[in-house]
């Protein structure tokens, strides 16, 4: 009776490969991530180096695996950070009087007005390039997104009598939030989280492309695109492969989000 949504399947397929590679990199990579081997520089993909090698003879598969790991970890951490702050904030805004929450709403607008790249550039200037800076910059951008979705979804739930009944049972505000509100607004938040994860992947790739991530030689997908773009003519795989991996991740997140939206909407 439940024919799986093709977008869910396709999205999961898109994500499965990159995630498996990233997880594998925790334990094993075919070559050392930063291992130089000048004798085998700029090799096209073959059996020994499935993704080829770069100008220093570094194995692109190994570097891609480590880069994927950084990208996925950053995207998940940033989305988690945004959700962890944004969802309680949104529910608080929905629960409090409009006049009292007005400053919070304006603050959310203000955060929206700053593109994450700008925020990341500011943070990088303050702290130097770091993975934490990227997480905070992207996560900060996610906070108002989750706050708005949570507030919009929580507003009709808060008006329901079972919230009043729970207050009568003696539950405090946090208990009501966790036990009653969250399960009833989970669907749109899960959908939004998967869409935001896609945006975060793109943002992380963009930030590392601009050099606002971990400093070299730490591998990152965006960093590889920047480093190898001059070799596009001579060794196109060096650019196409990291680019394809980013595309695959973003596409997977978006397909998953779209599929979930229809699956969870009732």
């Amino acid at each position: 009776m439940n024919r799986p949504d093709p977008r869910l399947l396709l999205g999961a397929t898109c994500l499965a490969g990159p995630i498996a590679l990233a997880l594998l990199s925790l334990a094993w990579t075919p070559f050392a991530v930063n291992g130089l081997d000048i004798a085998h520089r700029l090799l096209p993909p073959d059996a020994a180096h499935p993704f080829g090698t770069d100008g220093f003879g570094r194995d692109l598969l190994s570097r891609s695996m480590a880069g994927l790991r950084a990208t996925i970890a950053t995207a998940l951490a940033a989305t988690g950070l945004g959700a962890a702050i944004g969802i309680p904030l949104g529910i608080t805004i929905a629960a409090s009087h409009e006049r009292r929450s007005a400053p919070l709403r304006r603050l959310a607008d203000l955060v929206f007005a700053f593109p994450p790249v700008l925020t990341a550039a500011m943070l990088a200037a303050l702290w130097g390039g770091s993975a934490a800076g990227a997480v905070v910059a992207i996560g900060a951008f996610d906070v108002p997104v989750f706050a708005r979705i949570a507030a919009a979804a929580a507003l009709p739930v808060l008006a329901q009598d079972f919230i009043a009944a729970s207050r009568l049972a003696g539950r405090g505000p946090l208990g009501v939030l966790w036990w009653h509100i969250l399960p009833n607004i989970a669907a749109p938040l899960i959908v939004q989280a998967s869409l935001q994860a896609g945006i975060a992947v793109l943002a992380e790739a963009g930030l590392t492309y601009l050099g606002f991530g971990l400093p070299p030689p730490a591998p990152s997908l965006g960093g590889m695109l920047k480093d190898y773009q001059s070799a596009l003519g001579a060794a196109p795989w060096l650019v196409l492969i990291p680019g394809a991996l980013v595309t695959l991740l973003v596409l997977g997140c978006n397909l998953l989000g779209d599929g979930l939206r229809d699956r969870l909407a009732r």
Partner: protein, 324 residues
């Protein structure tokens, strides 16, 4: 029997009070200096048309809504002045049964978890040492009392009928052995045949457990069955208050009389009128009697001076020219 359990003094509540930038400048109060008391073990019926403030009064008595001014004394303590923590500790004493039995149950939680919630919350908060087995035992006891069984515990609210859901709500309200139950139109959303069952259940529970009820309803027939005293509300004030028999058989306020004329109940006196008074919305007076705009017996005095609630012998009425 005549000991006062709950007393409201001078409750005032206005919704959507116009802020500086609000478009609605002058909001009519939902409660306008309402005072009423409920004795231990009795049932006070609150009746009136939609928007008269009866539900607001019911919820304010439990401090689900904060009044703008006024006090609510529960066993002599002003609960409006209590801190949030003290109020939560007092919650077990006063519970509510809601009109919409579906909206009163979280759709994502099983009935068993919802029934256990009051005891689980208070076990953690008040240090009452209920074990899960004791909670399960209490749930069994209440399921028995309200006529449900254990098979219902695994269900979700949408898998039950309206009558069953309302029984769950009643059981849940009783979990912590409250003294007071505010029932806000508890049977209005049910089929007529189920209405009688639930009303009988409420009456039965009151006798067995010595409960005090505030019973909000627009249905005078139901109120007649369950209420010892009746407060008739109109436009945020109580216009008539007294023993159920007195008020419903010899109404003194023209509005009570008009309400009774609108009821088809063989047990209540039916007086056919030549013509019903016109319903003039928005014509409620600000200076004189609120009902003057709709009253069949309106006199010049009614538009000049607001009548106060007064009287004797188990009946108070707010009218310059009472009918009885």
């Amino acid at each position: 029997m005549s000991e006062v359990l709950l007393e409201a003094r001078d409750l005032t509540k206005t919704y959507g009070g116009g802020g500086l930038l609000s478009r609605r400048r002058r909001a009519r109060p939902a409660l306008d200096h309402v005072s009423v008391s409920v004795s231990r073990g009795e049932t006070l019926g609150l009746v009136g048309e939609s928007g008269c403030g009866k539900s607001t009064l019911g919820r304010t008595l439990l401090r689900l809504h904060e009044p703008d001014s006024g006090e609510v004394f529960f066993e002599g303590r002003d609960i409006i002045a209590l801190s949030a923590g003290d109020m939560r500790r007092l919650r077990p004493e006063m519970q509510m049964v809601f009109q919409d039995s579906y909206a009163a149950l979280n759709p994502k939680r099983r009935i068993g978890a919802l029934l256990a919630e009051p005891m689980r919350v208070h076990r953690r908060r008040a240090g009452a040492a209920w074990t899960p087995a004791e909670i399960a035992e209490r749930i069994d006891e209440l399921l028995d009392l309200v006529g449900l069984n254990r098979t219902h515990l695994q269900r979700y609210a949408h898998e039950m009928s309206g009558g069953q859901r309302q029984r769950v709500n009643i059981a849940r309200a009783l979990m912590l052995s409250p003294k007071l139950i505010v029932a806000d139109e508890p049977v209005s959303a049910l089929d007529v045949s189920i209405q009688a069952q639930v009303v009988n259940l409420l009456v039965d529970l009151q006798q067995r457990l010595g409960l005090t009820y505030v019973f909000v309803s627009h249905d005078l027939g139901v109120v007649r069955q369950i209420a010892d005293r009746v407060a008739v509300m109109y436009g945020g004030v109580i216009v008539e208050l007294g023993d159920t028999d007195t008020v419903l058989h010899r109404p003194a306020h023209p509005y009570t009389a008009a309400l009774l004329d609108a009821v088809l109940d063989p047990h209540l006196p039916f007086r056919r009128r030549a013509s019903a008074p016109p319903v003039v919305t928005g014509a409620d007076s600000d200076i004189g009697c609120r009902y003057a705009g709709r009253c069949a017996n309106v006199a010049p005095l009614c538009r000049q001076r607001r009548p106060e609630l007064g009287g004797q012998d188990g009946r108070m009425v707010a009218c310059h020219f009472p009918l009885a």
